[in-house]
Amino acid sequence: MKITLKVWRQARNASTGAMQSYQLNDVSAEMSFLEMLDMLNEQLTSQGQEPVAFDHDCREGICGMCGVVINGAPHGRYSSPVATTTCQLHMRNFHDGDVIEVEPWRAGAFPIIKDLVVDRSAFDRIIEAGGYISVNTGSAPEAHSTPAPKLQADRAFDAATCIGCGACVAACPNGSGMLFTSAKVTHLANLPQGQPERRRRVKAMIAAHDDNGFGGCQNIGECASVCPKQIPLASIGQLNRDLIAALFHADGRNS
Protein backbone atom coordinates (compact mmCIF):
# COMPACT_ATOMS: atom_id res chain seq x y z
CA MET A 1 0.00 0.00 0.00
CA LYS A 2 0.93 3.64 -0.40
CA ILE A 3 1.55 5.67 2.69
CA THR A 4 2.34 9.35 3.12
CA LEU A 5 4.44 9.87 6.21
CA LYS A 6 4.79 13.21 7.93
CA VAL A 7 7.74 12.91 10.25
CA TRP A 8 9.13 15.38 12.78
CA ARG A 9 12.67 16.27 11.76
CA GLN A 10 14.88 18.08 14.24
CA ALA A 11 18.66 17.96 13.79
CA ARG A 12 19.46 18.46 17.45
CA ASN A 13 17.84 19.71 20.63
CA ALA A 14 18.76 23.34 20.09
CA SER A 15 17.50 23.54 16.52
CA THR A 16 13.91 24.10 15.52
CA GLY A 17 12.10 21.13 14.05
CA ALA A 18 9.36 20.76 11.48
CA MET A 19 7.16 18.09 9.98
CA GLN A 20 8.45 16.72 6.68
CA SER A 21 6.51 14.61 4.18
CA TYR A 22 7.75 11.37 2.66
CA GLN A 23 6.07 9.02 0.23
CA LEU A 24 6.32 5.22 0.67
CA ASN A 25 4.96 3.12 -2.18
CA ASP A 26 5.39 -0.56 -1.34
CA VAL A 27 4.41 -0.85 2.29
CA SER A 28 3.22 -4.35 3.17
CA ALA A 29 0.34 -4.78 5.63
CA GLU A 30 2.44 -7.39 7.47
CA MET A 31 5.17 -4.87 8.29
CA SER A 32 5.49 -3.54 11.79
CA PHE A 33 5.48 0.22 12.18
CA LEU A 34 9.22 0.24 12.85
CA GLU A 35 9.90 -1.91 9.80
CA MET A 36 8.03 0.70 7.80
CA LEU A 37 10.33 3.36 9.32
CA ASP A 38 13.33 1.13 8.44
CA MET A 39 12.05 1.08 4.88
CA LEU A 40 11.81 4.87 4.89
CA ASN A 41 15.38 5.11 6.20
CA GLU A 42 16.70 2.78 3.48
CA GLN A 43 14.95 4.92 0.91
CA LEU A 44 16.42 8.10 2.43
CA THR A 45 19.91 6.58 2.65
CA SER A 46 19.85 5.52 -1.00
CA GLN A 47 18.79 9.05 -1.92
CA GLY A 48 21.71 10.41 0.09
CA GLN A 49 19.54 12.00 2.77
CA GLU A 50 19.88 11.81 6.53
CA PRO A 51 17.82 8.86 7.90
CA VAL A 52 15.17 9.48 10.57
CA ALA A 53 16.52 8.82 14.08
CA PHE A 54 14.17 6.75 16.27
CA ASP A 55 14.65 4.64 19.38
CA HIS A 56 14.08 0.88 19.31
CA ASP A 57 15.54 -2.25 20.78
CA CYS A 58 13.74 -5.55 21.40
CA ARG A 59 10.88 -5.01 18.93
CA GLU A 60 8.85 -7.45 21.03
CA GLY A 61 6.97 -4.86 23.10
CA ILE A 62 8.79 -5.64 26.33
CA CYS A 63 11.78 -3.30 26.61
CA GLY A 64 10.18 0.16 26.54
CA MET A 65 12.77 1.64 24.22
CA CYS A 66 10.57 2.50 21.25
CA GLY A 67 7.79 5.00 21.30
CA VAL A 68 6.58 7.73 19.00
CA VAL A 69 3.35 9.68 18.78
CA ILE A 70 1.42 8.39 15.77
CA ASN A 71 -1.53 10.44 14.52
CA GLY A 72 -1.62 12.31 17.81
CA ALA A 73 -1.58 9.29 20.10
CA PRO A 74 1.45 7.73 21.84
CA HIS A 75 2.29 4.31 20.32
CA GLY A 76 -0.50 4.96 17.79
CA ARG A 77 -2.86 3.79 20.49
CA TYR A 78 -5.98 4.99 18.72
CA SER A 79 -5.01 3.35 15.44
CA SER A 80 -4.61 -0.03 17.12
CA PRO A 81 -7.39 -2.21 18.54
CA VAL A 82 -5.15 -3.49 21.35
CA ALA A 83 -2.83 -1.85 23.85
CA THR A 84 0.60 -2.05 22.31
CA THR A 85 3.98 -0.45 21.90
CA THR A 86 5.04 1.20 18.64
CA CYS A 87 7.09 -1.86 17.62
CA GLN A 88 4.08 -4.15 17.94
CA LEU A 89 1.81 -1.87 15.95
CA HIS A 90 1.41 -3.24 12.45
CA MET A 91 0.70 -1.59 9.14
CA ARG A 92 -2.49 -3.66 8.74
CA ASN A 93 -4.07 -1.12 11.11
CA PHE A 94 -3.65 1.52 8.41
CA HIS A 95 -5.13 1.81 4.95
CA ASP A 96 -3.81 2.42 1.47
CA GLY A 97 -3.34 6.15 0.90
CA ASP A 98 -3.29 7.05 4.61
CA VAL A 99 -1.38 10.07 5.82
CA ILE A 100 0.43 9.15 9.05
CA GLU A 101 1.88 11.81 11.32
CA VAL A 102 4.84 10.75 13.44
CA GLU A 103 6.10 12.93 16.27
CA PRO A 104 8.41 12.41 19.25
CA TRP A 105 7.23 12.37 22.89
CA ARG A 106 6.83 16.02 23.77
CA ALA A 107 7.33 16.97 27.41
CA GLY A 108 9.53 19.38 29.32
CA ALA A 109 11.09 16.47 31.19
CA PHE A 110 11.90 14.62 27.93
CA PRO A 111 14.11 16.91 25.81
CA ILE A 112 14.33 15.93 22.13
CA ILE A 113 17.78 14.61 21.20
CA LYS A 114 17.18 14.20 17.48
CA ASP A 115 14.13 13.66 15.26
CA LEU A 116 12.01 11.12 17.15
CA VAL A 117 14.53 10.35 19.90
CA VAL A 118 13.99 11.89 23.33
CA ASP A 119 16.04 11.79 26.52
CA ARG A 120 14.09 9.82 29.12
CA SER A 121 16.77 9.74 31.80
CA ALA A 122 14.41 11.73 34.06
CA PHE A 123 12.64 8.36 34.59
CA ASP A 124 15.95 6.82 35.68
CA ARG A 125 16.38 9.55 38.27
CA ILE A 126 12.91 8.78 39.68
CA ILE A 127 13.90 5.11 39.96
CA GLU A 128 17.21 6.06 41.59
CA ALA A 129 15.25 7.96 44.24
CA GLY A 130 13.45 4.86 45.49
CA GLY A 131 12.34 2.37 42.86
CA TYR A 132 14.29 -0.47 44.43
CA ILE A 133 14.64 -2.50 47.63
CA SER A 134 17.83 -2.50 49.68
CA VAL A 135 18.90 -6.11 50.24
CA ASN A 136 22.23 -7.83 50.36
CA THR A 137 22.78 -9.88 47.26
CA GLY A 138 23.86 -13.50 47.47
CA SER A 139 22.24 -16.84 46.79
CA ALA A 140 18.51 -16.71 46.14
CA PRO A 141 16.55 -17.04 49.41
CA GLU A 142 14.05 -19.85 49.94
CA ALA A 143 10.85 -18.59 48.26
CA HIS A 144 8.52 -19.90 50.96
CA SER A 145 10.32 -18.05 53.74
CA THR A 146 8.58 -14.80 52.67
CA PRO A 147 4.95 -15.54 51.78
CA ALA A 148 3.26 -12.99 49.52
CA PRO A 149 -0.56 -12.98 49.46
CA LYS A 150 -1.93 -13.93 46.02
CA LEU A 151 -3.98 -10.77 45.43
CA GLN A 152 -1.12 -8.44 46.36
CA ALA A 153 1.37 -10.51 44.36
CA ASP A 154 -0.88 -10.18 41.30
CA ARG A 155 -1.23 -6.44 41.78
CA ALA A 156 2.52 -6.09 42.20
CA PHE A 157 3.12 -8.10 39.06
CA ASP A 158 0.61 -6.09 37.03
CA ALA A 159 2.30 -2.86 38.11
CA ALA A 160 5.75 -4.32 37.49
CA THR A 161 4.89 -4.83 33.83
CA CYS A 162 5.47 -1.07 33.34
CA ILE A 163 8.31 -0.84 30.82
CA GLY A 164 8.99 2.87 31.43
CA CYS A 165 8.38 3.85 27.81
CA GLY A 166 7.08 7.31 28.72
CA ALA A 167 3.79 7.16 26.80
CA CYS A 168 1.94 8.33 29.95
CA VAL A 169 3.99 11.53 30.07
CA ALA A 170 3.62 12.05 26.32
CA ALA A 171 -0.17 11.76 26.56
CA CYS A 172 -0.65 13.82 29.74
CA PRO A 173 -1.97 17.36 29.21
CA ASN A 174 0.07 18.31 32.29
CA GLY A 175 3.26 16.46 31.30
CA SER A 176 2.96 14.42 34.49
CA GLY A 177 4.83 11.16 35.08
CA MET A 178 2.46 10.08 37.83
CA LEU A 179 1.32 6.83 36.18
CA PHE A 180 4.93 5.68 35.79
CA THR A 181 5.85 6.67 39.37
CA SER A 182 2.70 5.08 40.75
CA ALA A 183 3.37 1.82 38.88
CA LYS A 184 6.76 1.56 40.56
CA VAL A 185 5.33 2.50 43.98
CA THR A 186 2.42 0.03 43.60
CA HIS A 187 4.76 -2.74 42.50
CA LEU A 188 6.95 -2.56 45.62
CA ALA A 189 4.19 -1.52 48.05
CA ASN A 190 2.38 -4.81 47.45
CA LEU A 191 5.33 -7.09 48.18
CA PRO A 192 6.72 -8.03 51.62
CA GLN A 193 10.22 -7.03 50.48
CA GLY A 194 9.04 -3.52 49.71
CA GLN A 195 7.64 -2.77 53.18
CA PRO A 196 10.71 -1.54 55.12
CA GLU A 197 11.29 1.36 52.73
CA ARG A 198 7.67 1.90 51.71
CA ARG A 199 7.12 5.34 53.29
CA ARG A 200 10.53 6.71 52.43
CA ARG A 201 10.16 5.44 48.88
CA VAL A 202 6.88 7.17 48.07
CA LYS A 203 8.11 10.52 49.41
CA ALA A 204 11.48 10.30 47.66
CA MET A 205 10.04 9.20 44.33
CA ILE A 206 7.40 11.93 44.24
CA ALA A 207 10.04 14.52 45.18
CA ALA A 208 12.27 13.24 42.36
CA HIS A 209 9.27 13.25 40.00
CA ASP A 210 8.57 16.93 40.74
CA ASP A 211 12.26 17.93 40.73
CA ASN A 212 12.76 16.44 37.28
CA GLY A 213 10.25 18.73 35.63
CA PHE A 214 7.12 16.57 35.50
CA GLY A 215 3.75 18.19 36.07
CA GLY A 216 1.02 17.48 38.61
CA CYS A 217 -1.76 14.91 38.20
CA GLN A 218 -5.27 16.16 37.46
CA ASN A 219 -6.85 12.67 37.32
CA ILE A 220 -7.72 13.08 33.66
CA GLY A 221 -6.92 9.49 32.69
CA GLU A 222 -5.28 10.06 29.32
CA CYS A 223 -2.14 8.23 30.57
CA ALA A 224 -3.86 4.95 31.38
CA SER A 225 -5.71 4.98 28.07
CA VAL A 226 -2.48 4.95 26.05
CA CYS A 227 -0.39 2.70 28.33
CA PRO A 228 0.86 -0.28 26.30
CA LYS A 229 0.95 -2.34 29.51
CA GLN A 230 -2.49 -1.16 30.67
CA ILE A 231 -1.27 0.12 34.02
CA PRO A 232 -4.59 1.16 35.62
CA LEU A 233 -5.37 4.66 36.86
CA ALA A 234 -6.01 3.03 40.25
CA SER A 235 -2.20 2.78 40.65
CA ILE A 236 -2.23 6.53 41.17
CA GLY A 237 -4.82 5.91 43.90
CA GLN A 238 -2.39 3.53 45.59
CA LEU A 239 0.37 6.14 45.34
CA ASN A 240 -1.89 8.81 46.83
CA ARG A 241 -2.94 6.56 49.74
CA ASP A 242 0.68 5.63 50.41
CA LEU A 243 1.73 9.28 50.31
CA ILE A 244 -1.04 10.39 52.69
CA ALA A 245 -0.12 7.57 55.10
CA ALA A 246 3.59 8.43 54.79
CA LEU A 247 2.98 12.08 55.66
CA PHE A 248 2.18 10.98 59.22
CA HIS A 249 5.57 9.29 59.58
CA ALA A 250 9.06 10.68 59.85
CA ASP A 251 10.56 8.26 57.28
CA GLY A 252 12.05 10.13 54.36
CA ARG A 253 11.75 13.53 55.96
CA ASN A 254 14.78 15.74 55.50
CA SER A 255 16.40 16.17 58.91
Partner: protein, 212 residues
Protein backbone atom coordinates in the same frame (compact mmCIF):
# COMPACT_ATOMS: atom_id res chain seq x y z
CA UNK B 1 -6.73 21.34 46.09
CA UNK B 2 -8.86 18.30 46.89
CA UNK B 3 -9.71 19.13 50.51
CA UNK B 4 -10.53 22.79 49.90
CA UNK B 5 -12.52 21.82 46.80
CA UNK B 6 -14.65 19.37 48.77
CA UNK B 7 -15.28 21.99 51.49
CA UNK B 8 -16.47 24.40 48.78
CA UNK B 9 -18.73 21.73 47.25
CA UNK B 10 -20.23 21.03 50.69
CA UNK B 11 -20.87 24.77 51.08
CA UNK B 12 -22.55 24.92 47.67
CA UNK B 13 -24.88 22.05 48.55
CA UNK B 14 -25.87 23.84 51.78
CA UNK B 15 -26.32 27.12 49.89
CA UNK B 16 -28.52 25.35 47.35
CA UNK B 17 -30.66 23.90 50.12
CA UNK B 18 -31.04 27.37 51.64
CA UNK B 19 -32.12 28.89 48.32
CA UNK B 20 -34.93 26.35 48.02
CA UNK B 21 -36.56 27.93 51.09
CA UNK B 22 -37.78 30.66 48.73
CA UNK B 23 -40.65 28.27 47.88
CA UNK B 24 -41.88 28.25 51.51
CA UNK B 25 -42.31 32.01 51.60
CA UNK B 26 -40.71 35.36 52.45
CA UNK B 27 -40.68 34.79 56.20
CA UNK B 28 -39.08 31.36 56.07
CA UNK B 29 -36.45 32.64 53.64
CA UNK B 30 -35.61 35.84 55.52
CA UNK B 31 -35.65 34.13 58.92
CA UNK B 32 -33.29 31.47 57.63
CA UNK B 33 -30.90 34.14 56.27
CA UNK B 34 -31.06 36.01 59.55
CA UNK B 35 -30.51 32.80 61.54
CA UNK B 36 -27.36 32.05 59.51
CA UNK B 37 -26.03 35.54 60.17
CA UNK B 38 -26.79 35.71 63.86
CA UNK B 39 -27.91 32.63 65.65
CA UNK B 40 -26.16 29.52 64.37
CA UNK B 41 -24.10 28.06 67.23
CA UNK B 42 -25.54 30.94 69.27
CA UNK B 43 -25.16 29.62 72.80
CA UNK B 44 -21.55 28.66 72.07
CA UNK B 45 -20.60 31.76 70.09
CA UNK B 46 -21.84 35.30 70.79
CA UNK B 47 -24.46 36.70 68.39
CA UNK B 48 -23.11 37.59 64.97
CA UNK B 49 -19.82 35.75 65.34
CA UNK B 50 -20.69 32.62 63.43
CA UNK B 51 -21.09 34.28 60.05
CA UNK B 52 -17.64 35.87 60.24
CA UNK B 53 -15.93 32.64 61.26
CA UNK B 54 -17.82 30.91 58.46
CA UNK B 55 -16.80 33.56 55.94
CA UNK B 56 -13.19 33.38 57.11
CA UNK B 57 -13.09 29.59 56.66
CA UNK B 58 -14.60 29.83 53.18
CA UNK B 59 -12.22 32.63 52.26
CA UNK B 60 -9.18 30.64 53.40
CA UNK B 61 -10.40 27.59 51.45
CA UNK B 62 -10.91 29.72 48.36
CA UNK B 63 -7.50 31.38 48.63
CA UNK B 64 -5.74 28.02 49.15
CA UNK B 65 -7.71 26.47 46.27
CA UNK B 66 -6.73 29.29 43.92
CA UNK B 67 -3.12 29.28 45.14
CA UNK B 68 -2.82 25.52 44.46
CA UNK B 69 -4.48 25.94 41.05
CA UNK B 70 -2.08 28.70 39.99
CA UNK B 71 0.93 26.71 41.22
CA UNK B 72 -0.20 23.57 39.39
CA UNK B 73 -0.98 25.53 36.25
CA UNK B 74 2.48 27.11 36.11
CA UNK B 75 4.16 23.75 36.81
CA UNK B 76 2.02 22.20 34.08
CA UNK B 77 2.97 24.83 31.50
CA UNK B 78 6.64 24.19 32.30
CA UNK B 79 6.20 20.40 32.23
CA UNK B 80 4.48 20.37 28.86
CA UNK B 81 7.61 21.96 27.41
CA UNK B 82 8.15 24.35 24.54
CA UNK B 83 7.78 21.73 21.82
CA UNK B 84 4.10 21.44 20.92
CA UNK B 85 2.30 18.54 19.26
CA UNK B 86 1.36 19.19 15.66
CA UNK B 87 -1.58 16.85 16.12
CA UNK B 88 -3.12 15.73 19.41
CA UNK B 89 -5.64 12.94 19.57
CA UNK B 90 -7.59 13.11 22.81
CA UNK B 91 -9.59 10.12 23.83
CA UNK B 92 -10.06 9.61 27.53
CA UNK B 93 -10.19 13.17 28.80
CA UNK B 94 -13.59 14.71 29.37
CA UNK B 95 -14.53 18.25 28.39
CA UNK B 96 -15.00 18.96 32.09
CA UNK B 97 -11.40 18.04 32.89
CA UNK B 98 -10.07 20.29 30.13
CA UNK B 99 -12.25 23.15 31.28
CA UNK B 100 -11.14 23.12 34.95
CA UNK B 101 -8.77 26.10 34.81
CA UNK B 102 -10.76 28.45 32.58
CA UNK B 103 -13.89 27.39 34.42
CA UNK B 104 -12.16 28.27 37.68
CA UNK B 105 -11.42 31.78 36.43
CA UNK B 106 -15.07 32.20 35.41
CA UNK B 107 -16.16 30.99 38.84
CA UNK B 108 -13.89 33.50 40.56
CA UNK B 109 -15.59 36.32 38.62
CA UNK B 110 -18.99 34.86 39.51
CA UNK B 111 -18.14 34.82 43.22
CA UNK B 112 -16.93 38.44 43.14
CA UNK B 113 -20.11 39.54 41.32
CA UNK B 114 -22.32 37.50 43.64
CA UNK B 115 -20.78 39.05 46.77
CA UNK B 116 -21.01 42.58 45.34
CA UNK B 117 -24.65 41.99 44.54
CA UNK B 118 -26.21 40.06 47.39
CA UNK B 119 -23.76 40.49 50.27
CA UNK B 120 -22.30 43.98 50.05
CA UNK B 121 -25.35 45.35 48.17
CA UNK B 122 -23.11 47.30 45.75
CA UNK B 123 -24.96 46.34 42.56
CA UNK B 124 -28.66 46.80 42.97
CA UNK B 125 -30.77 45.15 40.38
CA UNK B 126 -34.51 45.31 40.82
CA UNK B 127 -34.37 46.77 44.30
CA UNK B 128 -33.14 49.95 45.99
CA UNK B 129 -31.66 50.62 49.38
CA UNK B 130 -31.18 48.02 52.06
CA UNK B 131 -33.63 45.20 51.53
CA UNK B 132 -34.55 41.81 52.91
CA UNK B 133 -32.87 38.84 51.13
CA UNK B 134 -36.26 37.74 49.77
CA UNK B 135 -36.85 41.10 48.09
CA UNK B 136 -33.37 41.08 46.56
CA UNK B 137 -33.89 37.56 45.22
CA UNK B 138 -37.27 38.39 43.72
CA UNK B 139 -35.98 41.64 42.26
CA UNK B 140 -32.87 40.18 40.67
CA UNK B 141 -34.54 37.19 39.04
CA UNK B 142 -37.59 39.04 37.80
CA UNK B 143 -35.43 39.92 34.79
CA UNK B 144 -35.08 37.03 32.34
CA UNK B 145 -31.58 38.02 31.14
CA UNK B 146 -30.35 37.74 34.73
CA UNK B 147 -31.72 34.19 34.90
CA UNK B 148 -29.95 33.35 31.63
CA UNK B 149 -26.58 34.69 32.91
CA UNK B 150 -27.14 32.86 36.17
CA UNK B 151 -27.84 29.62 34.28
CA UNK B 152 -24.59 29.96 32.32
CA UNK B 153 -22.55 30.46 35.48
CA UNK B 154 -24.30 27.68 37.41
CA UNK B 155 -23.59 25.51 34.37
CA UNK B 156 -19.89 26.35 34.67
CA UNK B 157 -20.03 25.51 38.40
CA UNK B 158 -21.52 22.13 37.56
CA UNK B 159 -18.94 21.31 34.91
CA UNK B 160 -16.24 22.27 37.44
CA UNK B 161 -17.83 20.03 40.08
CA UNK B 162 -18.29 17.19 37.59
CA UNK B 163 -14.54 16.72 37.22
CA UNK B 164 -13.54 18.26 40.56
CA UNK B 165 -15.60 15.90 42.70
CA UNK B 166 -14.10 12.80 41.08
CA UNK B 167 -10.61 14.29 40.99
CA UNK B 168 -10.72 15.31 44.67
CA UNK B 169 -11.62 11.80 45.79
CA UNK B 170 -9.05 10.28 43.42
CA UNK B 171 -6.36 12.57 44.86
CA UNK B 172 -7.34 11.50 48.36
CA UNK B 173 -6.79 7.88 47.31
CA UNK B 174 -10.41 6.74 46.92
CA UNK B 175 -9.82 5.39 43.41
CA UNK B 176 -9.13 1.79 44.43
CA UNK B 177 -10.05 0.12 41.15
CA UNK B 178 -12.02 0.40 37.95
CA UNK B 179 -15.37 0.05 39.76
CA UNK B 180 -14.41 2.77 42.24
CA UNK B 181 -13.63 4.98 39.26
CA UNK B 182 -17.08 4.35 37.78
CA UNK B 183 -18.86 4.88 41.12
CA UNK B 184 -16.97 8.13 41.87
CA UNK B 185 -17.72 9.47 38.39
CA UNK B 186 -21.41 8.57 38.65
CA UNK B 187 -21.64 10.36 42.02
CA UNK B 188 -19.80 13.33 40.50
CA UNK B 189 -22.39 13.53 37.71
CA UNK B 190 -25.18 13.19 40.27
CA UNK B 191 -23.83 16.01 42.47
CA UNK B 192 -23.28 18.24 39.43
CA UNK B 193 -26.82 17.71 38.15
CA UNK B 194 -28.24 18.13 41.66
CA UNK B 195 -26.43 21.45 42.06
CA UNK B 196 -27.64 22.66 38.67
CA UNK B 197 -31.28 21.71 39.26
CA UNK B 198 -31.24 22.92 42.87
CA UNK B 199 -29.78 26.32 42.02
CA UNK B 200 -31.89 26.84 38.90
CA UNK B 201 -35.32 25.97 40.35
CA UNK B 202 -35.81 29.17 42.44
CA UNK B 203 -34.70 31.72 39.78
CA UNK B 204 -36.71 30.02 37.03
CA UNK B 205 -39.76 29.88 39.30
CA UNK B 206 -39.37 33.57 40.20
CA UNK B 207 -38.92 34.51 36.54
CA UNK B 208 -42.11 32.70 35.52
CA UNK B 209 -43.99 34.20 38.46
CA UNK B 210 -44.51 30.91 40.24
CA UNK B 211 -43.30 32.37 43.54
CA UNK B 212 -45.44 35.09 45.07
Amino acid sequence: MAVTGLVLIAFLLMHMYGNLKIFIGPEAYNDYAEFLKQDLLAPILPHGWFIWIFRAVLFICLVLHIYCAITLWSVSVEARGKSKYVRKNRKEQTLASRFMRWGGIALFLLIVFHILMFTSNTFQLGWTGKQEPYTMFMGAFAQPWMVVIYAVFVGIVCVHIRHGFWSAFATLGANVGKYAQIVLNVIAYFVAVLVFVGFMLPPVAVCFGLVS
